[in-house]
Point group: C2
Chain length 307, copies 2
């Protein structure tokens, strides 16, 4: 693929002229990036200027056919390290079932981009593409690296104002760093997120190299502050009264033992009496081939929880 | 996505050490690039030194669960301009149905790469990524740009020797330039390819800008030589005794009127008495969102034809 600007066969859509959509409430304007008919519904990507990050953020949203005549349940998908809003919508194969079940799926980017902080682009696991779904408190990240509030508050409000979704039926799921994000955000916002699942989540970022690096960088060295972003710590401190959590983990995942550690989540849930359906999938790895294989189960799980 | 070499969340597989598989018949060695468990089967990518192109070619193959105990029908997928072996296997969502139906799917690259000819990388629609599934006769392309013989002969022989497929049950399909390739290769090799379909094919490359540029470049200016690579001309000259051809075309495809021209194929089939199921899909474009939406229909079509 040598000419990224000229790919007709990979074309995502006839590109409409950028559209500014002023919301009736005077809220943030949405700029439509693309819109593709898909399984009878529409896969869209839009950009908007985020209050939380101070940057233009890209977001994918799939609207199922049913959304043309009714408000539909909505799922938030949080992607993993290095991803953009594009990975899930092109690789997960989720639209087929979302169309059938009548679910909207919102897939935001994984960090602010272009803030220009020193070191922002130096590593795949910190800075750009690696927001870790926290609100940073350490300089310079404190300004803009606010993916927790972006996903837990700003984005749901924006989506509810601009698209035909039913906020009372909201779920969240994600992969790896995004599985950590989905679990922690659900646990802390159980009134909004009534259903949560994850693929290969980082179960205890306080106790793995990816998490320790990110939390130290974004929050500073006081580990007490880290616990609010650790799913196992949140299970212990807050519990979960929602429907059972669903977690799929491939046994062939090269990050399983060093970074993901589902046994820590399993132990915390057992201790706290939180129902967890942790499925160890034989031979599957950390890729979208794994996620696509079990995507249908997750979508049916959320649809049932949000019915 | 800033660090292509370091993408854990997009990781395609735990990368095994390159494996050289010497075939029992002393044939070409396969080098395994990746292997990912997917829907109970395995998505693999391998490389091999092609006799036809003189280059190392990459090929994706999905092996369904059934392939572990029986020889299965095999489909060849030909991608469009700019694509590699990767686009189909990551974006089409075909593995789910291939697993269910017990089909292997082979997805080769779209051209030789790295031959170093002047101008090879200058345009998205000629040279690298744009082999057009022809055997070139014009210099310098005559050496290596032999994607017709590669797909029609070399690759099926290689696949049959190395994987548990049943060559007597072989089908072919593709998209855009690859839809053209699938139709022309099937029409000229009906004894091997017993089932053919296409998404948004270039129906008459002799009569559109993409085709005229490619055929002139690869074959020279004698248009009489072009007809052997034109699906409508082949329908007229050879007909097709196989099962009805299936073609899906989005009505929102920006290349429809200028490059694809399904009405020419429709007229040729009508004239020749060749059954064609041409479905105009309202509002769909040229993207993988379109193809994914109707992939199940194509796989069920081929499975039924090859039963």
């Amino acid at each position: 693929m040598t000419h990224p600007s000229q790919h007709p066969a990979q074309q995502q859509a006839p590109q409409p002229a950028p559209q500014q959509t002023q919301q009736p409430d005077g809220g943030a304007a949405l700029q439509q990036i693309s819109a593709n008919r898909c399984f009878g519904g529409e896969q869209r990507v839009f950009a908007h200027l985020s209050v939380q990050t101070g940057t233009k953020m890209r977001v994918g949203i799939y609207l199922p056919p049913r959304a043309s005549s009714a408000r539909v349940p909505v799922l938030y998908w949080l992607s993993g390290l290095t991803c953009t809003e594009e990975n899930f919508i092109t690789k997960a194969g989720a639209q087929r079932l979302a169309a059938e079940l009548g679910l909207a799926i919102v897939a935001p980017d994984t960090s602010p981009r272009g803030l220009g902080y020193p070191g922002e682009d130096d590593a795949y696991d910190f800075g750009t593409g690696a927001g870790f779904y926290v609100d940073a408190t350490a300089a310079p990240w404190v300004r803009g690296y606010r993916m927790y509030s972006y996903v837990a508050e700003e984005l749901p409000a924006l989506i509810a104002s601009a698209f035909p979704v039913d906020p009372s039926r909201t779920g969240i799921f994600g992969h790896s760093m995004g599985g950590h994000g989905a679990l922690t955000i659900a646990l802390k916002n159980a009134a909004l997120f009534r259903s949560a699942s994850a693929f290969a989540p980082i179960c205890s970022p306080m106790r793995c190299p990816w998490g320790e690096k990110a939390l130290a960088g974004y929050l500073g060295d006081d580990r007490a502050a880290w616990a609010q972003y650790d799913a196992t710590a949140l299970i212990e401190s807050r519990g979960w009264k929602g429907p059972p959590l669903l977690v799929d983990q491939g046994t062939g995942d090269t990050f399983l033992a060093s970074q993901l550690k589902p046994e820590l989540l399993e132990a915390a849930c057992l201790q706290a009496g939180v129902p967890l359906n942790l499925r160890r999938q034989e031979g599957y790895d950390h890729s979208y081939y794994f996620m696509a294989s079990f995507m249908e189960d997750h979508l049916r799980f959320h649809a049932a929880n949000l019915a």
